[in-house]
């Protein structure tokens, strides 16, 4: 059985409080990418980190930030390992993390399974379909006005983990953290 020492808990809290380099409103703990902190001896620590997306370039900045924070806490040797399994999912984002995303103007991923692409039909132009289609899944709510009446503009937005949408009520465009 794996037991966690008080020191490991303390270091995990420190590592987990590091802000995400791309979405600084979230901490790594809230994003759910911090997997484990193991203390080997008093000044040597191993940290397991998992990437959100396979190609996410932020993981290197995360590693450097964790190393810095733990060094500042007096840990001499910090090794950050990247682990792939089990794969990260947007379900790993905490409720507090979701609340912060919404406040930051990003629609959080919809909770629960199933994940994956949502079928959306493209017309010749990007306009509202003339007849409303039955919603197959929970709608994506506008983070600005809360309306459920939003449309997809592009499956990939400023980063691979987000889609670009537009609110049809307040007309504001916004990013949506895609379900993965």
């Amino acid at each position: 059985m794996v037991t966690t020492t008080a020191l490991e808990e303390e270091l995990r809290r420190l590592a987990g409080s590091v802000p995400d380099p791309e979405l600084p409103v979230l901490t790594l703990e809230e994003l759910g990418v911090l997997r484990a902190v193991r203390v080997h001896d008093a000044d040597s620590v191993e940290v397991d980190l998992t990437p959100t997306y396979t190609g996410c370039p932020a993981i290197e900045a995360m590693s450097v930030d964790i190393e810095r924070v733990l060094h500042e806490h007096g840990i001499r040797e910090v090794a950050v390992r990247t682990v792939l399994s089990p794969a990260w999912s947007t379900d790993d984002i905490s409720d507090e993390g979701r609340r912060k995303l919404r406040e930051f103007g990003i629609a959080p991923p919809r909770g629960g399974r199933p994940t994956g692409p949502v079928t959306v039909e493209l017309g010749p132009t990007r306009t509202t379909p003339s007849a409303p289609r039955p919603q197959q899944t929970e709608p994506v709510h506008c983070p600005h006005c809360g309306s459920a009446d939003t449309e997809l503009l592009s499956r990939f937005s400023s980063t691979a983990c987000k889609a670009l949408r537009r609110c049809l009520s307040c007309r504001e465009p916004f990013d949506h953290f895609k379900e993965l």
Partner: protein, 242 residues
Amino acid sequence: MTASTSETATAAALALGDDALVLSHRLGEWAGHAPVLEEEVALANIALDLLGQARILLSMAGDEDELAYLREERAFRNLQLVEQPNGDFAHTIARQLYFSTYQRLLYTQLAEGTGPFAPLAAKAVKEVEYHQDHAEQWTLRLGDGTDLSHERMRRATEALWRFTGEMFQPVEGVDVDREGMRAAWLESVGDVLRRATLALPEGPASGAWRAGAGRQGLHTESFGRMLAEMQHLHRSHPGATW
């Protein structure tokens, strides 16, 4: 692990890693040239996902930078499909449709196994679902669009057809049911093309070289030029960092 199984695993990682790396580079060539800004961002993001896969796979085979930047053309093991030039937007979408459908089926099987690729496959398969969805939606939009977009999409699916057979040739160390994959691929791609008012192309799905082509290190003419551009900076400034 014995030397031979380790060599097999290395060769398999190279084949899958080279597919991801080369297609990533091709998609990156759209940066600054895509028809609309959203599409430029989408293609760059798909390229980034593939680059992430390539880094993990090539690191399983050796030093990722050395493998990507210092190998000669004949040492690359990627499918000829992924090295094909971007062509017009329809060609890029046809290449995406063919490859992402294959990769999703491949990773789904690998993720269910216990081999060395299972952790990556389990992670990447969910990303590839978005790549496939992107390709499918564009195929429908172009195929079932104007006369011109329909014609261009038809030409693209036919031009790339002869590179599709190679995807289902066995690769040692990649333990999957290729025949099952081929049947599922034909069904999936055929369904999308039919809904796009197109049809599965007729004619051979491989060229005259039946023994594996890209997997054997035999590549098409444009690949050398692509590599020259991809490797130029690294070769000119060895070890440079920023």
